[in-house]
Subunit: 189 residues, 4 copies
């Protein structure tokens, strides 16, 4: 986070920007769009955030914090397989429904914002590391490459942003269950 001052308008600004970034993408959203959504003029945004890039960075931070909290709360089981499934379902919810903050993380890729590319990657990684623990805790047969397994689940979950629909089709829980079942049935010791 680079600079921020008040708090009341600040949140409204972030929320509006997140909503727009998540639905239209970063480039397709102009400062004018954001300003209009929150009822101020473009120039006024700069009192709160020094640049458009910083807006995104702040959203990423808030998003990672949020998804981490949600994620931690979800994986409260003792059983590592239950935990994996709960985490996967949480990921699917995060990329689709739920708060715009989390959706932004999966919609806007770090290299759309060269200036903060590394910071954004670091933030993303902070979340993805949670999955590392989940996978490491699994009792798996020796042929499994845990690194690849983690990437497979992350990729599958990430992709859900393109097709998951909260109503109609399966629930996030059902999808998480299905994804993990392949792994469990195949590779559990």
């Amino acid at each position: 986070m680079k600079s921020q001052r008040s708090n009341s308008r600040n949140e409204a600004l972030l929320r509006a920007a997140a909503e727009l970034f998540a639905s239209q993408g970063f480039n397709a959203t102009s400062m004018r769009d954001i300003a209009k959504a929150v009822g101020m003029l473009p120039g006024s945004i700069y009192y709160h955030f020094p640049s458009k890039d910083d807006l995104l960075l702040a959203i990423y931070e808030a998003g990672v914090e949020q998804i981490t909290t949600t994620f931690e709360a979800a994986i409260d089981s003792e059983d590592p397989w239950q935990r994996l499934q709960a985490g996967t379902s949480a990921l699917i919810r995060a990329v689709s429904e739920e708060s715009a903050y989390t959706r932004v993380i999966f919609k806007v890729t770090p290299d759309e914002v060269p200036r903060y590319r590394l910071e954004l990657i670091t933030l993303r990684d902070a979340f993805e590391a949670k999955f590392k623990v989940l996978v490491d805790d699994l009792p798996l047969q020796p042929w499994v490459d845990k690194h690849l397994l983690r990437l497979m689940i992350l990729g599958a979950g990430n992709h859900a942003q393109l097709w998951f629909s909260p109503r109609g089709g399966r629930s996030a829980d059902e999808i998480g269950e299905q994804f993990c079942r392949f792994v469990k049935e195949a590779a559990s010791t």
Copy 2:
């Protein structure tokens, strides 16, 4: 395809644009960039293609054709599990190494180009439909939702564009094998 004329420079143009779109993204690449890469002035591009959007459309078309060919050639086995694995490996190669044309398909999303959004989606779908056949041919236990399975594999493969490296780490074949092994061991009848 909207309009195209010669062939020599045309291909050079497409190749250069594809390379840039694949590495920097569509929005971050200007017509100036493309022109410079191919050694002409920005305005000259318009002799060959009527707009930047059409350039992308042509690349998508070439990319889908290419990946389809590669894909078809790869899945030549009799065994459906072999076929799935070969297809998955081909997907991973397509999103990472190989020609820029195919990489563009997975890097540039249809809603970055509203004018051709539907055409691009249709082209993408044309490729993804190939996977439907692969999955449908598998002898699977009844608990498997083939639709979700297809999306899982596509998502996992797609995601490889972010982390796959041709040298260092595992090969595309190894990764495809690993991904499919979960499914086969878990759900083969």
Copy 3:
């Protein structure tokens, strides 16, 4: 009217644009020309007006309002022949000397601006309809086609933009008088 914000610079912009459109034509005037005339950069104009076309639309609106006011004030006589003559003279002044706003209406034709073609035609018609009343009020012999008469006068007046000169030659009043005299002497009952 599509969009407008302040008022001080706004008017200066309209005035400058009107002057240029009236003297050089719409196509021959660039946004750069207008910007230079008013002392800002081309891009800055877009803070005040969303496009060049909208600039013209606003000028047309102001012009029609202005000419209507002038026109109404001119035709204050009781005698219908006096009124016709006053109206004709007012038209001649409008197409030649006087404010640039009104000159634009007769210099720039609606189909130079396809996007607002219909709006411009409607605005023009709003003024030309005033003439209809003038002609309808005349006591004319039955052989007169009032519709054609109106068009004849409008055409003659319109054409004055090409040759009328405020100094040297006859005044607008004299010309209006001469034009109308033909009609009155020939067709008055």
Copy 4:
């Protein structure tokens, strides 16, 4: 006329350009449009005419020649009033129906083509001078300003390009008759 070589394609070129200039205007017509209409490529036009401006100049020349011929043929009566009426009707036909060459003269104004502005004005004047003779021959009462009378008729006729329709409404002959009747009834000695 600046330069011209062959003759077969030349005429097709002029005809196509005239049609486009007359219907869309000079600025709104591109060399590409013209080339397409005649089945060649833009660059090929330059074998026949050195520039777009020269194309217009040639059309103007052809148009003036044509209208002059038509006009002379029309005013074959002995009676000066008959001659005026025939000339006026010919003008109305020229600005509306009939050949595109003549329509261009009344649609495209000289200052749309600064380079040949004077030449175009001269050509126009060459035609308008014909009207001078017509008017000068009329037996008119002393209050008539022949110069203004000529401009009035030219203006009224010119304006017909905006509203005259060959089918529906009155014929060019009827309109010419009506216009001239005012003058004759009012000012004939």
